[in-house]
């Protein structure tokens, strides 16, 4: 009834190409933004921030980054954990070397450093494809983790090899360190998530995105119509790693506060983010959010239901959690191989026709 284009006249090219062409969708989007910025910060406590919102927002950024590479450009990467580690360690080195510079710039610069590293490890993609590229990026994953464990300069020669985020403030409000108020950490990450999503959305529907998708769909054909594969592939690696690096920096500085590279950025992290992208939907910004929500929030929800709600033993609940999440992944992938984003798309199509489907 409300959900249709009818009556919503577009009079300019920009309006016709907007992300949410349907008025209802547009208002819903604004409502979500207003709620996220103006309501949530007033009602959340430590638990909601640290167990729900921060991981969701940060993994969303990582998933957006990986989606650009895998979903839009078709280059399979298993190096996400390693690139997140680059972001985290770059942020740590910058934070400790230039304490007077605002943390905001450090996080962005950490993304920049990761972009450079990503381009370096993206070079093999010019010669190898598919599974073989996955193996090459896997090497990046192991090499980077080994590097950060092996070279003490990266962790400032601390005895334990741990890096810990010192306190940094924005406008006098701490956003890293133990004294951080929950709303401050939340807003800091939210700003990054929203800006990253906006940039990603606009990149992917512009010329850069079309080049990536052309490479993804058939690289030889793309080359023939004039897409430079070197630039397209390396720019995808750069942009993707930039976002992943930001996610890594936030993951370390704001969310965990202290990390150890092998534990926090191991191969498991690479798989986790890849699964988010696949379950959420390849080649969709919304899918990145949906995938992150699915894999971050569901375990927390299950844990709270089974342990706190039903009072089951923690080990039983932990095992069941694996089974339920695993089962749901299979169910979702069978029901809709293109991920949650496609389910959402189908739902929207149906809504447009409702209540008269034919």
């Amino acid at each position: 009834m409300f959900y249709r284009e009818a009556g919503d006249f577009k009079t300019s090219y920009a309006e016709d190409n907007q992300t949410f062409p349907i008025r209802f969708d547009r208002y819903r989007y604004y409502a979500v933004l207003v709620a996220a910025f103006a309501v949530v910060p007033f009602v959340i406590n430590d638990y909601w921030v640290n167990a729900v919102f921060l991981p969701f927002l940060i993994y969303s950024i990582a998933a957006i980054g990986l989606n650009i590479l895998v979903g839009y450009c078709g280059q399979v990467s298993l190096g996400t954990g390693g690139f997140m580690a680059v972001g985290a360690y770059a942020c740590y080195k910058l934070m400790t070397a230039f304490p007077e510079v605002n943390i905001l710039f450090h996080v962005v610069l950490a993304g920049g450093v990761t972009a450079i590293v990503g381009v370096l490890f993206g070079l093999p993609s010019l010669r190898i494809k598919g599974f073989y590229l996955a193996v090459a990026t896997l090497a990046a994953q192991f090499f980077l983790v080994w590097l950060f464990n092996r070279v003490p300069w990266f962790y400032n020669y601390s005895a334990s090899g741990q890096i810990s985020a010192p306190e940094r403030t924005i406008f006098g409000v701490p956003v890293t360190g133990a004294e951080t108020a929950p709303w401050a950490a939340y807003l800091f990450c939210l700003v990054f998530t929203v800006v990253c999503a906006l940039i990603a959305r606009n990149l992917t529907r512009g010329m850069a995105g079309r080049k990536w998708m052309a490479i993804r769909d058939m690289d030889i054909a793309a080359e023939i119509i004039g897409v430079n594969p070197l630039r397209a592939k390396l720019s995808a690696f750069a942009v993707s790693s930039f976002f992943v690096g930001i996610a890594g920096a936030l993951f370390f500085a704001v969310y965990l506060g202290a990390v150890e590279v092998g534990e926090a950025f191991g191969i498991n992290k690479s798989f986790l983010v890849l699964f988010m992208v696949i379950i959420g939907g390849l080649g969709s910004i919304f899918g990145s959010f949906a995938g992150a929500a699915f894999l971050v929030l569901l375990p927390v929800l299950l844990k709270n239901t089974l342990v706190s709600g039903l009072g089951w033993p923690t080990d039983l609940a932990a095992h069941l959690e694996f089974m339920i999440v695993g089962g749901l992944i299979i169910v979702f992938l069978i029901a809709e191989p293109h991920g949650l984003a496609q389910l959402w798309r189908v739902a929207k199509e149906k809504l447009r026709l409702w209540p008269f489907p034919h």
């Binding site: 640290n50 005895a159 334990s160 741990q162 133990a178 506060g257 150890e260 844990k303 609940a317």
Partner: protein, 427 residues
Amino acid sequence: MKMKLIATALAAVVTAAPAMAELVFPSLSYRTGPYAAGGIPFADGYADYFTLLNERDGGIGGEKLEVPECETAYNTEKGVECYESTKDLGSLVYQPLSTGITYQLIPKVTADGIPMLTSGLGRTSAKNGAVFPWVFNFPANYWDGASVAVKHILDQEGGDISGKTIALVYHNSAYGKEPIRTLEELAKKHGYDLTLLPVDHPGQEQKSQWLQVRREKPDYVIMWGWGVMNQVAIQEAVNIRFPMDKFIGIWWSGSENDVKPAGEGAHGYKALTFHNLGDDYPLYDDLKTHVFDKGLAAGAGDQHGTAIYNRGLYAAMLVAEAAKTAQEIHGTSQITPAMMRDGMEALEMTEEKMVALGLPKFGPEFTVSCENHGGNGFAAIGQWDASAGEWKLITDYMQSDQEIIQPLIEADSMAYAEESNITPACN
């Protein structure tokens, strides 16, 4: 149904209101994952001791005890979730049993004002209570362990180990890297050569490390392992026929679960410990009457008397005694985390106390003070007897080399104080 489940879940999250009628000792346990072999017995022991106090004494000072458990799987992200979900329950003290989670929680517990006890694990320099007012690591820490292991080697070699080689096989994480500095300092003092052999998480792949041991033939191997890594290392050592009595594990590498898979081959393997082993204590009789026979034992109930189960009992006993001390100091049975901290800082473990608790000669005697949150660093060596299937203490409790360790603790804690803008103070 689904809505109902979601509603229950939300209600559970929202109603995390403080339950003031009880004393809460949260247990951040791990019964799943590659470290469960160590996590399960510890969590069982920890829970059973508090169950015993509830059943036999009606709690501590008349207050019932509650032990909410939260599964971390030794994973720092889940550890954060567990900490946040339990801290508003009025939690008195945390014992995360993971060095990684400990590092994460040190700034958090300091900001939230909840004490943390990391017996034999965590950040060693937390011994300096002037810098780490909320963190305790009595009765012994990693550097004590490293030093006592070297002392034992000195005893074996008749006091001279110059020119000998010692290899450290360690978990490549904050936990495994802890002893390196101390072993390096001790190498300077005693003149041995140190070889470092890192093993990556989770530690199932150690062929190359043990190949190196086989090639270089170090005189002794010291191990800093945990979980599945221990079993693999001991099996590999057996495979290359490394003499077991020259293979010494830290206390986290000294449980029955670690040596049993290697069968007879593991006979003679040594491990450090900071508490006694076995189940030959009056406390076990009480546990049997009040907990085991009533069917109240935590977990599967098959861990009683094992080394790490005993460590769980010991950890629970230490915080229970600290809670009693806190109740005495403040004259109230309803203690807060801040009062609990005072109790821990004033804790005195004497032999009479341990006899009264039914644990004679179970652990070392020590006194906690603001300057010393870490006890006196006494540890002993246990040896595995494969035919009898039990650990036996083969030495007395030895004190670690304080003249090496104290300056290291001073330096590391001061570096932390500077990094985090803490002014060290004892009042």
